[in-house]
Symmetry: D3
Subunit: 242 residues, 6 copies
């Protein structure tokens, strides 16, 4: 089998990272995984949601959206439809949980980091690119708080990155682009820490099923890909883990 | 470690199934997994959603809701809030995908099966109980269509059942109830077929992480529990797989 | 004229009451009036709505919903439509007002009883079955508050029950089921107390009219039916009126 | 007992009717019942709702709203709140049903009459004033259709008018104004035809109850008041019943 | 060119003003500009929006709506559609800004004037008639506050009035009615003070453009028309500027 | 007076244009006016809105949004709030009208150009930058249609560009940035064609007024600035006007 992109089964797409892509946010990272481009910003708010008030710890939450023409066909805005769809809900909850695994909420103190992931261009894997990019944006926001003296301890416990794996034409492959994703039997999103622990595993077979063996192959590919992504995160912002 | 319920780590809660719980639906199953009770109905509609029109195949879709006082504290209705929350979206998409893995949509013909899972009483694992119960309701609806002569071939390809597994106080356990679920580090919902293939794996660690070893333990427990649930489905309605 | 059910013009359908149908609510009653089945729960909240704060008295409010396949044809959920329809608004306001006639709000103290009436199966008369069942659920919730010592005086002033009457094929009949209701010229819902006073009278003639004589006949039937329902309430829970 | 307005217990407030109050609508009536002023328009649309298509008959439907400062305190617009409240739903359903009792939908043909009742100034009894005024607006719209030759037979079967009655300080009174309405124990809205048949009876006792005797007194007052209102309708537009 | 109404290019439509059209509002003005009739009420609320709390000054805000049959064809209510459209938003923001130019918010003190402009009948120029009428309603509300002693200084700094101008069949004309408005190349709404200063200029050419010369002609006509409207305002309520 | 940016009163901010910023849209332009950065895409859809069906002409419509952290303080998404605010409505209607002045809808044929203006970073003048950038995106989309042979005649009639002018500390200035805009007495957005005709003039004085002389000064500055912007548009894409 030859992948549409010509990549090896275990090859990531090229990753490009632009920090400080916009100027107002405490963290602002444009991440490109191949042709998928996501602007991830991290905004610090000096209060916490009602359910945490007085608990002496912070919160990290995420919102996700695609620009209407990030995709091959224009998609109507969710603001125009008056409601956020199920897919968006699922993705932004996933991003938020993943980032909270990277952050020591106690050390963050009573503040919220709002993460916004806005997909400027989509070519498969937007939710995993969002997580990888957003972790860098959170790192920059945390660095900002440390620089201005608002944090004593570093709340970033570890890097968190994500990648999709799947079964395409019977074979397990890493980091599916749109051409693969729209034809894959199985699609699995994996989120892991720099230390190699799982944060999330979400495997889905629309109209198909997968075997325990295929699952093991996919998890191995994910482990390899995420290790490369974490290395890249660390290279971009080594000070974040000091 | 002793589980709050006193169960062994690999023990399911007692399962009770009441078929034809209500009289109008083509399939109507009340499933009780311990104190979690879900009414699952399957309704046949002789048309398909717009994206499938003329494609010569059918559709299975699901909706999920909890009665306001299914829970310890009363929860406001989503109809009163005017919108469906992210958790509900996630769950009903999961149920729908799981059931579509059980049904040959081609053999179903151009009709839709609407599955409604309404939680009457909640004690953890409502989404997995919904899938297990709904598969029986779909089986009954399919049997109804076969009985009245509207289906030549049996579209039920296999049973599909689901269970939650997790890590509670450091140990992998099967079929978490609320007392465990609300204190677990890791929560994983697994959906499998009667033949033992995976349909969905959704593992989540809120504020924690899990190792590859823990994952393997959880998957083994899930496999055991789902095999028991499928046996129970088959015992309830053996004609569905003929 | 022979009624579709074969009942006499002045005969109620068989009534079945299951108390403690679910375990979390302070009051939980499944009432069946023939094939109409409604789960009525009463939940106690230790605060009152803004307009009553500091007034030294409590509140009783109700919500009503039908499960999507409670009916012959599946009906879309109001949560999916994003709004509560006019019929639902009308019914839940009616239930709330009816129950407030049964409860001494002063004696209840600064707390709210939330009543939820969820129709599991519909065969006509769902709103009146809701009122009759909900009054029992409120009674159980009130008993719970008395048992745990949170109430000095009994706030249940009297039983309240409801029934529908109508003109079917020219004759006044009691307790219409769906077969009659969908063909009746006149439909009247009557709510009365155990002492025989009126709480609500709502008579409607869709596309028809009714005479003063017919009205008198319907009111007499309602009085008879409600007396029987109140007797049944009292038999279920005699301690509520002590 | 002396009523706040000094009226006898069986006295209506003065009624003023201005036909053709606005110029675009086929029927446009400003009705004043004392200080309650409602602009009622009837608009003809040459199609019917989906459920009536091809049925060879027409439809009459109503919407009701209050201007924000029709009342003592300004009330927020329902458009600004993004939803129509329960009270509004109840009232517009009542108006629609009442008018359909006045109109032979077969004779109306496949068209819809949209009735809009907008309360310019409120002083109690806005829903009953709406019905009485709207029936005149419908009559004018029907006359317009007859004049331009679009109707062979007169679809107005009879006049329909409405009034409120209640128990105020222990005594049954006719046509309550705000000062009485806000203090009444019982409030009943009655809709009748010119021929003296009932269309709707809606009696409500918020936090109170009423006896069969009080009900009879209220109904007698309503009958008297409605007879006067129908006489006034006929005087305004005698040609409508020819 | 002869205008559809036969008016000269620089002639306003006849203006009629009815003060105290309804009885509850502090200011209530029915303004008719030709066949355009708008009920403008001003309601005083003794608090300010959150962004002004503690700032020691007041606020003026406006809402605008058309009755469904104010127009040639019935238009669905925005409350029924569940949202306020773009045109309504634009107009009510314009009215609010215009009135705030007339009022010294410091002198008004910490209170809000809610202005409601409800179009009873539309024939072009409803937003400009709303502004002219609403300024009178605000003047009456302010007079009411002065009369009851709640204001030391007069917060009405100047009259504010508005008119539309446009290019119709190549010629600049004043105060377009619907027949002109729906065929005009250019439509400009101008708001000015009694002293002749601009508050708002909003010129729009749907599918066309306009020259600097045409703009000058339109502004001259607007100046003339607004001077006449301000004179009329002053004649109605000379005490407001004392 | 010295402007916060040090610019002369009649100086534009530096303009940067990146065509083909994203790959899916028929036109995709990132425009930067100083620190204001807007991504403008033009998407071609081969159908027209209902009101134009069969009319043999096309349509151009626009949507506008700001990313949550485009601004100094994070602003909640309109999708999360469930509705589009008044300011957004105003702006997207303005953009749409402005672009329709640039396009011969007859020559466009029965198709729609959807313009999306998403503000990545805001520093004043986002709506005028959107118009100037969107006109280029429309030009690119039109060129695409010509290149693939779907258009015989060039529907781009002229360039359209926009700029803001205002009165800042008593002096008329061109192209206000945020520091000026938030302190200006008067703010006017002007849209003009390459030929120097007006498309829109929207002058607003929040809490202030402006004289005829100030208006003339502002219009002269706008004319100068727009001429420079049009020159820049033409330099970017000279083929668009051939």
């Amino acid at each position: 089998m030859i992948r549409p992109s010509g990549r090896n089964a275990d090859a990531l797409r090229p990753v490009q990272v632009t920090r400080n892509f916009t100027k107002h946010a405490e963290g602002s990272v444009l991440i490109a995984c191949g042709d998928t481009k996501v602007l991830c910003t991290a905004s610090v708010e000096e209060k916490v949601p009602p359910f945490l008030r007085g608990a002496g710890k912070g919160w990290v939450t995420a919102e996700y959206s695609m620009l209407p023409r990030a995709t091959r066909e224009r998609v109507a805005r969710e603001s125009a439809k008056g409601r956020i769809g199920g897919r968006t809900h699922e993705i932004q909850r996933l991003i938020g949980r993943s980032l909270r695994a990277a952050v020591d909420l106690q050390a963050l103190g009573e503040r919220t980091i709002w993460v916004d992931c806005d997909v400027l261009q989509a070519d498969g894997g937007t939710r995993t690119a969002s997580i990888t990019g957003a972790c860098l944006a959170v790192a920059d926001a945390v660095q900002h708080l440390r620089t201005v003296g608002q944090l004593r301890n570093n709340p970033l416990r570890d890097w968190v990155a994500a990648v999709s794996v799947g079964v395409y034409q019977g074979q397990a492959v890493l980091d599916l682009d749109y051409a693969e994703d729209s034809n894959a039997d199985v699609d699995m999103n994996v989120v892991m820490t720099g230390a190699g622990a799982f944060v999330e595993v979400q495997g889905t077979a629309e109209g198909a099923v997968f075997s325990a063996e295929q699952m093991a192959e996919m998890l191995a590919l994910a482990r390899k890909g995420i290790a490369e992504l974490v290395a890249r995160q660390h290279q971009e912002c080594p000070e974040a883990r000091s």
